[in-house]
Amino acid sequence: MSSAIAPIRTAGIATGLALAALLVLSFQVPASGQSLGAGVRMLAMAPGEVHVPRAGAFLSARGLTPGGEPARGSLPVTNVTRGAVDVRLRARKGGRELDRSLHVELRAGGRRLASGPLSRLRHWSRSLRVERGEERIVRVRAWIPAGTPGTAGRRVALQLALDAELVKATRR
């Protein structure tokens, strides 16, 4: 009698287990495929000699991952004085959590004003000459080099402070 039941038992229990497995598989809650990158937001603050657009951040990124695409932004700087000015930039405020891992490059007219970890941008950059009435575009690139650990979910909001110095006219 038991030998007659055995195939039914095996088939029945196997079917039941398979149904349970199917139920579990069909009610799986998949993990989110989103990546958790680092975020950076940069606003500019300029003195009276130069004008920068005040509306919002000129660079904003949330998905920066090590070795991933850099975030890019551009900052138009207009000289509103009657003479030429030398403009320097540096990062102010914002958390220091990404100071070592986030790299930033500032360029204007093919010339590099600053490049390196964000901590380096805490000091003044090289100066950029902006002639009277001229507008120069400062291009900013921010990225995290491949293999940098501990950046997931970190965010910084920075203020890029500008300093302008009037260039004294040389008499001939």
Partner: protein, 195 residues
């Protein structure tokens, strides 16, 4: 009396003999269904018990705040993860910031690392208010791996009435099934014609 009874018994035996294939088929189907149900119950029990060995545990869903992803009365099997392993979009279980005794299961809307802590913004899919909470980066939260619909009612009932009552009822039901099976088998062997 005996002379009259003997032909009746013979007719009954003949009827039974002619009905035997159908009875066997019904019995086979019932047995198969019983084994399928047993296998299914064992499978579900395994789906709840096996995760316990892998830092996961089953939790009954008590509210509809995550409808339709998680329904009231479902069981969600939740695995422990490091806070920074969660991602926006995941359904996570965490301690209520206002009542640490209470567990909440909601979807991550945003998260950020801040010093040695991770700040989460979560919201139930059916809610219109988010909650903001923080947890040490070295701590643990839960991520929902899968759910078993409606099974939570049984877990909640077992908890409210005491597990003992449920176990006792289960044992009695098992005893009843075994007794009925034994009687059935006895009847079946009597009815079968001798080889």
């Amino acid at each position: 009396m005996t002379a009259l009874a003997t032909p009746r018994r013979g007719r009954l035996r003949l009827r039974l003999a002619s009905a035997l294939p159908a009875l066997r088929l019904v019995r086979g189907v019932v047995r198969l269904a019983a084994f399928v149900a047993t296998g299914f119950a064992v499978g579900i029990a395994l789906a709840l018990a096996v995760p316990l060995a892998f830092h996961a545990r089953p939790l009954a869903v008590l509210s509809g705040s995550m409808e339709p992803a998680l329904g009231t009365g479902d069981v969600s099997v939740v695995r422990s993860i490091a806070p920074l392993d969660a991602r926006p979009g995941d359904i996570v279980t965490f301690r209520d910031p206002n009542d640490p005794e209470r567990l909440i299961t909601h979807r991550v809307r945003g998260m950020r690392a801040q010093g040695d802590r991770v700040v989460f913004v979560t919201r139930g899919d059916a809610n219109n208010v988010s909650e903001r909470w923080r947890v040490p980066a070295t701590g643990e939260i839960g991520r929902v791996m899968y759910r078993i619909p409606e099974l939570g009612w049984a877990l909640m009932y077992a908890r409210s009435k005491g597990l003992f009552v449920v176990l006792l009822a289960g044992a009695l039901a098992l005893l009843l099934v075994l007794e009925l099976t034994a009687i059935w088998r006895k009847d079946g062997s009597n009815g079968e014609p001798a080889a």
